[in-house]
Symmetry: C2
Subunit: 472 residues, 2 copies
């Protein structure tokens, strides 16, 4: 998450990876398992460091549980932390859940404060507690404090590993400290140092390059930026995004209500969480709640998917009840049954397009959750055109196939009208859900398809009942 590390010449040699011509035949996890079995920690470290991040992720996911955890314990804690850093959070949590608490604590100790908070939040509660017990008390207290914030708040993203000096320090003192602790600071973001008063309250920010141009006997307070912008630990992710959009900073200091400096949130961390949020919205809209990897236990994957499916099937059965009501009509004009799934599917497609555009406009701030009327008017015009085109198309197909123009009229009109309904609901439901604090990514889809199915079936079968004499 945090910062720069430009090491001595590093070559991405792949010589010792034994990568065959055809990548499909390459199974680096087998070599990993061999190295683990032979207890060759150094060889393991070497081999892993030559794998790309995604090859590391792939290989670790392919090891069985035993080798899984053995890899992390064989590596030096610092290297193990590095490996976890390259994995998705779900996968990292899976691995650490399998470790002894003491081993896990040694690795957690090597992480930056935001990584610690992230990881502990993703673990089993029991394992997280054991790890906290095994950490030095002061560190554990600090992790607990940050773990109280979620990933989408400043407190969950802040790092405590920053350059922090008293404002009374002199320029040459700061330079000496930097040079003496070069090794430790190597992993920090060294663009800025943060200056506090004797009570730890934030008083200024010091761009490091200012040190270049300063007299060495001056106090750093002379070259700092006074009253810098700062934020509180409770600031939510979307405001953080706004903040970094508006300001070209690489990081922003976080203070408590007494203006005491807690740490820094880096732009990178905000970008990373935003990507995660976007990916998670996609998964949720497809019914994957709680990120799934295929390496997870079968019952867990099945149960999570089922929780979504069982709600959907109940809603579906509810919608199908409309068909049951009109069984009499349907039995007389059996051709209608061919068109019911078409109307259901197509309305779903049109509605989902409107949902996707609303979700995007909400996330860009281009529409406010209260502006339902505006969105509705924009959707109605598109719905009218698209509904007419689709309705005509399905009407023509019906007439060609069945020969009865009234069948074409019924299904064509129903599809047209239902497209209008679908885009109206699809466009406005995300705004409504957002306004009342629900997650639009999860709930928009099922709500949409249930209502559009009901309306679609009702339109087709209701009209058919009225025109029954012409259809038979």
């Amino acid at each position: 998450m945090n910062a720069p590390e430009l090491n001595a010449p590093e070559t991405t040699s792949v010589a010792n990876l034994d990568k065959p011509q055809d990548e499909a035949d390459w199974r680096p996890w087998e070599r990993l398992a061999e190295l683990v079995d032979s207890g060759d920690g150094e060889g393991l470290e070497d081999y892993l460091s030559n794998l790309s991040a995604s090859d590391q992720a792939l290989s670790l996911s392919r090891l069985d549980e035993e080798h899984h955890t053995a890899v992390l314990t064989l590596l030096p804690a610092e290297e193990a932390a590095e490996v976890l850093r390259h994995l998705s959070e779900t996968q990292a949590a899976e691995l650490v859940d399998g470790l002894e608490a003491a081993d896990a604590a040694a690795i957690v100790h090597e992480m930056s404060s935001d990584e610690q908070a992230d990881l502990l939040g993703d673990l089993d509660d029991e394992q997280a507690e054991s790890i906290l017990q095994a950490l030095p008390p002061e560190e554990a207290a600090s992790v607990r404090e940050l773990a109280a914030y979620s990933d989408d708040q400043a407190g969950g993203l802040l790092v405590r590993e920053i350059l922090r000096f008293n404002q009374k320090s002199l320029v040459h003192e700061v330079i000496t400290t930097l040079s003496e602790n070069a090794e430790e600071f190597r992993d920090y973001d060294v663009q800025y140092a943060y200056l506090t008063d004797d009570d730890g309250k934030l008083v200024g920010v010091l761009p490091m390059r200012n040190l270049l141009f300063a007299r060495r006997t001056d106090p750093v307070a002379d070259i700092m930026i006074l009253d810098p912008l700062s934020i509180t630990a409770s600031m939510p992710l979307d405001e953080l995004r706004d903040f970094f959009d508006a300001h070209h900073f690489l990081g922003v200091p976080v203070v408590d209500d007494q203006n005491k400096l807690l740490g820094v949130v880096h732009r990178n961390a905000v970008d990373y969480e935003s990507t995660r949020a976007a990916e998670s919205d996609f998964l949720k809209s497809q019914g994957i709640i709680g990120e799934e990897l295929r390496t997870m236990p079968l019952w867990l994957r099945s149960r999570r998917r089922l929780s979504w499916l069982s709600i959907n099937i109940l809603l579906n059965i509810g919608a199908a009840a409309v068909i049951a009501v009109f069984q009499e009509t349907l039995s007389q004009v059996i051709a209608l049954a061919v068109f019911l799934p078409i109307i259901s599917d197509m309305s779903g497609c049109s509605g989902n397009q409107a949902v996707a555009v609303s979700m995007r406009e909400l996330s860009l701030g281009l529409v406010r959750p209260t502006e339902m009327l505006l969105v509705w008017m924009k959707e109605v015009s598109v719905g009218l055109i698209n509904g007419t085109v689709l309705g005509l198309l399905v009407a023509i197909v019906a007439v060609i196939w069945n020969g009865n123009p009234y069948l074409g009229l019924v299904v064509g009109f129903a599809l047209c009208a239902n497209t209008l309904i679908a885009v109206s609901i699809g466009g406005t439901v995300p705004l409504l859900l957002k306004r009342f604090g629900f997650d639009p990514a999860v709930a928009s889809g099922p709500l949409l398809t249930t209502v559009t199915d009901m309306c679609g079936f009702f339109l087709v079968l209701g009209m058919a009942t009225v025109l029954l004499e012409r259809l038979v």
Copy 2:
């Protein structure tokens, strides 16, 4: 995109925004239009700079076309570039497309090279060409060169605005240059400088903090990192992600095939493009190809959505043909018609879950496009459990409602079997599409629903035909 700018005390005063208590009543775009009408450039600049990024985006999207472009021409070019920077790329392109080429060129001139390439790529070809004509020839040539790369390649993301010195420079010369050009360099990423030989070939990277500890009369070559890692302009986005996952750099130098330094790709730019890619996958999976904003012209929005819908309706009609084949059976057991849409929808849900997990595992590198068998086995087990549960549920509903246990058998078994088929297809199709160079986000959905609909209808109606005597 690029870097730091910690200005003098800046307060986010909202005093002059006239923001009412109820945000829904607040229409900053009306105030913007007033300022534009009165030609008050300074007032406009002041008002805009006090709006948050999303309020800027919102307000600009709500202005009519005339005021739209007038805002950008009234602002100083540098401020206009800043405003565009906060907008989504679609919206920025919309605005610039409406400008006179000369006005647009003045704004483009103020952008960094990656922003220029991005924007020009999103414009109408004609407008882009006019702007290039209006730019200084040298700058235009440089933009053209970068515009040849797409957004998901290093060449499309690189910035040329970097600190670049000859390796023979002395430490004090570099410090003097930095201090004399502090204003220009303020917007650069000043973590590193890049050192070249007389031919412009990259020879080293200089972490700026090393300047702090160096003797001022030494050549910078003494404190640089030799043979730094570098990449070529054609490196694709997923390799860039891998690269930044594996290395904690904030940026990486880009060289041509003679090792001449072209520029730097920053981690931020890669993160930003990754977020865009994830958002775009979500939109594409919902049938929004080519990002849509509701401020776009009606015919464009309608046409883009229709191109997706018309393919889907043809596929849907194809699937429904299966029902038509079994009309005879259906007319004798009309109750079946109630269950056809349920089976179609539920199979779609199950299949989409498998699609979403595959897309995610592909993007994390946890599965290779060739490993279809592995994915299939993982899906079959989940599909078996979930199919059984869903099948039992729908069977029970059928029996309770209709009283005929054979109806329950037919619809329950069909749903169970079709869930298996749906997860098998949903899990493997993204791998197959990816392997053959298609975009899994676009094509997975329609392919999936068509095949599962066909199979589902065939299973229900085929079994019913066989068991017809028991069902009537």
